[in-house]
Each structure stands twice: as C-alpha cells, then as structure tokens.
C-alpha cells in the first residue's frame, strides 16, 4: 500500500541508467584522450568541463535530482555557489597578491 509512497520521485528504470553509464564511460575516455593532446591553456578547462558534465549526469539521473523537489535543487545550487565562493575569493586574494601594492 505505502511502498510506492516511500520515494517521492518516479522510479527511474535500468534503461536510463544504462544510457547514463555509457555516457559516463564515453566521457571518461574522452577526457583521458584530451589530456594526451597538448591544448595548452585549454587542457584544464576541457578536463574540468567534461568532469562537470559527468558529475551533472550522475547528479541528475543516478541521484534522481532531475526528479527531486525544487527545494533539493535549491540546496544543491546554494552549496555549489558557496563552494565556488570559497575557491574563487581565496584564489582571487592569492592572485591579486602578485599585483604588488598598487
């Protein structure tokens, strides 16, 4: 009776999971390949972009974020924002040290 009510989101089936798995494996192959080509400045960017895509896939489908409440998404967004704040503000401080006094 209350089995279906335990999970707030529709059940995601193996089909989706398989597709995502495939996508993740492709992404991994891609990023490893990209790391062997010398793109100079772009290497880290591409690597991180691919990593973010993979993370997004895991979040949205494996972790059902796509089917979760606005609240959950808000929580994740807030956390991500703060995460970036921590990194960017600290990095900004370190980088601007090199600018010397004025």
């Amino acid at each position: 009776m209350s089995e279906p009510s335990e999970h707030a989101h529709p059940i995601v089936g193996p089909g989706v999971y398989l597709v995502i798995l495939f996508a993740l494996l492709v992404g991994t192959a891609l990023t490893v390949w990209a790391s062997f080509v010398d793109l100079g400045f772009w290497n880290p960017i591409i690597a991180l972009a691919i990593a973010t895509t993979k993370a997004a896939l895991v979040l949205l489908y494996f972790m059902h974020l796509k089917y979760s409440s606005k609240l959950t998404m808000l929580a994740i967004a807030g956390c991500a924002f703060l995460f970036l704040t921590l990194i960017s503000l600290t990095l900004a401080e370190y980088i601007s040290r090199a600018w010397g006094n004025w």
Binding site: E6, A8, I20, A47, V58, M63, A75, F83
Partner: protein
Amino acid sequence: MRGWKARIGIAGKKRRPVPNSQATANSGPDGGEHGENHDHPSYLRHHFHSVEQQADAANFAMWIFLATEAMFFGGLFTAYLVYRNWYFPAFVAGSHQLNVIWGTLNTVVLILSSFTMAMGVWCAETGRRRGLVLCLSLTFVLGIGFLGIKGIEYREKIEKHHFPGLQYNLSSFLDPQSDPDVFKQYHDKPLSLDMARHTEIYFSLYFAMTGMHALHMIVGIGVLGFMIFRARAGAYTSGHVTFVENFGLYWHFVDIVWIYLFALLYLISRH
C-alpha cells in the same frame, strides 16, 4: 488546548488540510495524499505524519549532509588550486608521477559501481530482493577493487619515497632519468632544487585528497556490507527503501568527488 480545537484554519501549503479535528485528535494524524487512516507500516516513526513526510525528510537530510561533505572537500580543492597556481612546474612534475592507466581504470571501476548502486536502488524500489542483493554485492566488490587499485598506486609512491614527511625523496624530480619509466613517457626537464622541494606539497595534497576520498569509500563499503546482510533478509524490498536510496546518494557523491579528483590530480597538469 481545548479552545482552539474548535477552530480549523487554512491548511499548510505542503500538507493536505486535515479534514476535521476529530480525525486529528485520535490516531497520530497522517497526511497521505491517498487513503485516510490506513494502519501505518511498521517503519513509520511516531513523530511523522506520513510515510511521504518521513521519506522526504530523510532524503532532504541526506542531501544537506552531502552539501556538508562537499564543503568539506572544498577546503582541500581550494588548497590544491592555490598551490597549483603557485608551483605549477612542481605540480606538473608531480602529476607525471601518477599512473594515468591506473587512474582511468579506477574511474571506470567507480562509475560501474555507481551504476550497480543505481540498479540496486531500482531493485529495492521495485521489490526485487535477489536483484538488490546482487547489485549491492557487485557494488561492494567494485568498491574493494577501487581501494585495491588505489593501494597499488600508493605503494608505488611510497616505494619511491614520494610520501610527504621525513624521508621524502626528490631524486626523480632533480634528475628525471633516475626513474626511467616516467621519463620515457614525459621527458621531463629536471627541476631546480627549490621547485623540486615543492613537489612535496603536491603529494601532500594528493594523499590528503585521495586519502580523504578513500576514507569515504571505506565507510561506504562498511555500510554496504551491513546492507547486503539486511537485504538478504528482505529488509529493503518491503517498501522501506529510504535507507538504500540515501546510501545510493552517498555512494554517487563519492563517485562525483572522484571524477573531479581524477581530472585535477591526473589530467589537467600533464603538459
């Protein structure tokens, strides 16, 4: 408390209005979108109105906990980026010491384990007991596998004395020829002494980050063992899947962390 029983007001946004105070007075009121007072499943804790509410709460709590975890790793990522920005050559040389093959293999292993975990959640949600046990066991095995491979990598580092601390060894950065297998792959130029010293910071961060991640894996594997044991008894396939779902979230989070660690430690500093 008498006086205001009479007055029934507008109901909350999230919950359906409680029909009348009598209904609420007896029977710890339940707000299920379906059905009036059906008898509660055994796993409904006393302070929740309904199974939805309980599942919701648990799920949201897990997400918040993961947010905490994310910020926990945030400190490490900050440190990593700061020092990579300062000591770029050292970080390049350091990351050349990592074995991309093992790293990639580990990534694949972890992604697979994530997949099996997701399948496990599906099995639980659709009440497939044997499927669940199978998936959890596979996840368990893959997790162990990941740690095994990590162990191999750690051993390499420690044998080369790249573990930060007293007997940290600079030779493979001062003259790269001294460890040929890395050299023939990258042909690094030797680092000057002062820069070579900073590779220790790279390895400190490498061990701190991967170690912290491995710690999460170990905890996860421990819980997995316990879950397999319970799942065999059919604990999670009778509707009460919250635990499996939440553990799934945790496991996928650990996977995501690794995806970034793989990019940052192994990939981005190879040129």
